[in-house]
């Protein structure tokens, strides 16, 4: 045993030297970096602070920065990343990321709705095991729940200079992530009416969702907050201040139309497929999807109802125990480069949370400024509601009530 002692000595010193030289390199990189909305390569920067790291002089990194892993497992929703125009099965952003970092991203569009996806990884998270995913994208209320349960990795913002520099201020300081480093917004969007213009004409009122002339040809969403929220707006209640009584009233209204033969299906992302195929002509819909689905059905339209629509944000989370946390941070940071964010926004047609992306989009195509899905006009913004943050008890109550309309 004792003869191993001397052998162990030099290693920490070598590690220290390596660390010191890398820290020097990092300082050099940081000095070269520019502020604001420019892209910055990730550096072994200072310990996590809220300011842009490029401006503060880095101190010696405690450990040498890890290198990007060979692969990264990324779970997302459909129509949420720009496909390669040459090859539908590839994504430009991921190809570029691989060219720069050498990481093959295993990108899977497996999230159909928050609950059902969460169901697939919850047992592992509960048991403290790796879920197999390095990045997942979930809506804010689900992100809040994951963080509350301690199932999200704390991100090292030192590795994410673009996120710290380019995240819109409006997204900072949410109540459910006090340190703002367990989630990073992916896109925001609206919930409103999706319809097949040829069959329905242009629709503007949330009343249509409860009009029995669409019986058998209508989808509601399995996302409780979207379906209940739109129903509350139809009933004149405010989803941003929803009470149990509002919930009961909304459930009663859905039950009423279902009993009168509406026969609405409840769908996750699959509603978009139903609409494009013509199985339904009207659905509750997420804003960008209708544009992304246009090539398959040119008659699709989207509207935020005159009574109001829902506003939500989907967030990147690194699940606890993720194998490639560092690379996940690089990936999230990569999409916060304004030019990357601009390209994604142009395809997905959702509201981008990245500063500087809007300017690049408009510079490349002035028409984009008029795209109401990426840049909702003031009057639309005024009609949008963010669903009230529910306590655990209220959430259980709402979920249970909603399950009854799902027939469960």
């Amino acid at each position: 045993m004792s003869d191993q002692e001397p052998l162990q000595q030099p290693i920490p010193r070598r590690q220290f030297l390596a660390g010191a030289s890398l820290a020097g390199f990092a300082a050099f990189l940081a000095a070269c970096g520019t502020q604001g909305t420019q892209s910055q390569p990730p550096t072994a920067g200072p310990p996590a602070t809220s300011g842009p790291p490029a401006t503060t002089g880095p101190t010696a990194a405690p450990t040498p920065p890890p290198s990007p892993s060979a692969e990264l497992n990324f779970a997302n929703w459909t129509f949420y990343l720009d496909p390669d125009p040459e090859d539908e099965t590839k994504f430009t952003t991921l190809e570029d990321f691989r060219a720069e970092f050498g990481t093959q991203v295993n990108y899977q569009e497996v999230i159909d709705d928050n609950d059902s996806f969460m169901g697939t990884i919850q047992p592992q998270l509960q048991a403290g095991q790796d879920t197999g995913w390095d990045i997942i994208v979930v809506t804010d209320w689900m992100a809040a729940r994951i963080i509350r349960l301690g199932w999200a990795e704390q991100m090292d913002l030192g590795n994410m200079p673009n996120v710290t520099a380019n995240l819109q201020d409006a997204y900072k300081g949410v109540s459910w992530d006090s340190t703002d480093d367990h989630h990073v917004p992916w896109q925001s969007g609206m919930t409103g009416l999706g319809f097949d213009r040829e069959s329905t004409g242009d629709l503007t009122s949330v009343r249509e969702l409860f009009d029995l002339k669409y019986r058998g040809q209508i989808d509601y969403l399995t996302e409780m907050r979207d379906t209940i929220g739109l129903t509350m707006l139809h009933l004149g209640a405010d989803p941003a201040a929803a009470t149990r009584a509002d919930c009961d009233a909304a459930i009663a209204e859905i039950t009423r139309v279902q009993n009168e033969g509406m026969n609405a299906n409840f769908r996750g992302n699959a509603y978009a497929r139903d609409l494009t195929r013509g199985d339904v002509v009207l659905s509750m819909a997420w804003s960008g999807d209708m544009v992304a689905a246009l090539p398959d059905n040119p008659n699709l339209g989207f509207a935020v109802p005159s009574e109001g629509g829902m506003l939500w944000t989907d967030n990147c989370i690194i699940p606890k125990g993720a194998q490639n946390k560092y690379t996940a941070e690089l990936m999230i940071d990569y999409v916060y480069r304004p030019e990357v964010a601009a390209r994604i926004a142009a395809y997905v047609n959702y509201i981008t949370p990245v500063k500087g992306a809007a300017e690049i989009l408009i510079a490349s195509d002035p028409e984009m400024a008029n795209n109401p899905l990426i840049f909702p006009p003031e009057d639309v913004l005024a009609r949008l509601h963010i669903f009230v943050g529910l306590s655990e008890d209220d959430e259980a109550y709402f979920d249970e009530q909603f399950a009854t309309v799902l027939g469960l």
């Binding site: 059902s116 169901g119 058998g216 195929r277 013509g278 199985d279 399950a403 309309v405 027939g407």
Partner: protein
């Protein structure tokens, strides 16, 4: 070896050991854990507490989800009957009239298994969709009302279960028919039994073990199935499997979910016991598959 020779009595147990260990590890142990959690109270975030007084989980679940239990028995029962009606003539045909095509025909029965169960069910969704390749043209021609639907009806759910479980019924029946000594049937006819009489008094009773095995293999998984109801049904056709999935994975209500699972297991055990008694288990297992 010498040890085994000295303790001959142990040999059967040692041979059984892998199977028993497997059952202990993957059936009994999770079962006990689930039995425990069915007496819990609380929530994912607050934590759970065990108390025997929470037997109310069972009574509440039974009263709240009774329609789903009834519907599951109904759907699984009808589907089992339908698979039997389709599978018996099919198996009979393959066993007695298959000739040199026997193997090919059997292969065709199991061929669907080469594609995922989910994919096949989703394909039905697409094929029978309201504007799909079957209904679309018919509606276009004005032969059907535009609101006519196959998907999202009880019919679609039962048909889906029937389709998906057909091979589980066909194969056991085929095996028991195949084993029948053809001379018995010939003897019956020699003794002036009509064809239908020979079938009723010789073939059918001898094939009952296959019918028994096949209906268990169909009915039990069909009772707990949630895929067909999820993909082919609507909120009025949800089965108990959908409820368990929702309680476990969406509502995180583990106590209720566990209680329903145990009620389902108990229900199936009772149903199987009654069924076995009706058909006479002794003979069935002795001549079983």
């Amino acid at each position: 070896m010498r040890f085994l020779r000295q303790h001959r009595g142990l040999v059967p147990y040692l041979l059984l050991a892998p199977g028993i260990l497997w059952l202990l590890l993957f059936y009994v142990a999770p079962g006990i854990v689930m039995l425990g959690s069915s007496f819990w109270e609380g929530s994912l975030e607050r934590g759970y507490a065990f108390s025997l007084e929470n037997y109310t989980n069972y009574t509440n679940a039974l009263s709240r989800f009774q329609p789903h239990f009834v519907r599951s028995i109904e759907y699984a029962g009808i589907a089992t009957l339908l698979t039997l009606l389709i599978a018996y003539p099919l198996a009979y045909g393959i066993a007695f009239r298959g000739g040199r095509f026997k193997n090919l025909l059997l292969f065709m029965v199991i061929a669907p298994f080469f594609t995922s169960f989910l994919l096949r069910t989703i394909s039905w969704q697409i094929i029978l969709g309201d504007q799909g390749i079957v209904l679309g043209p018919i509606k276009e021609a004005g032969l059907l009302d535009n609101n006519f639907a196959i998907i999202s009806t009880p019919f679609a759910v039962i048909a889906g279960i029937t389709y998906n479980f057909l091979p589980f019924m066909t194969l056991p029946i085929y095996v028991s028919l195949e084993k029948i000594d053809i001379r018995l049937i010939e003897a019956a006819q020699d003794l002036y039994a009509s064809r239908s009489n020979a079938f009723r008094r010789i073939t059918l009773p001898l094939s009952l073990p296959g019918v028994f095995a096949g209906s268990l293999l169909t009915f039990i998984p069909a009772m707990g199935d949630f895929v067909n109801a999820e993909l082919l049904g609507n909120p009025q056709t949800t089965m108990i499997g959908n409820v368990i999935q929702n309680q476990f994975l969406t509502q995180n209500n583990y106590p209720t979910a566990s209680a329903i699972s145990f009620l389902l297991m108990a229900g199936i055990l009772i149903a199987v016991a009654v069924y076995a008694r009706l058909l006479g288990t002794e003979e069935l297992t002795s001549g079983g598959v």
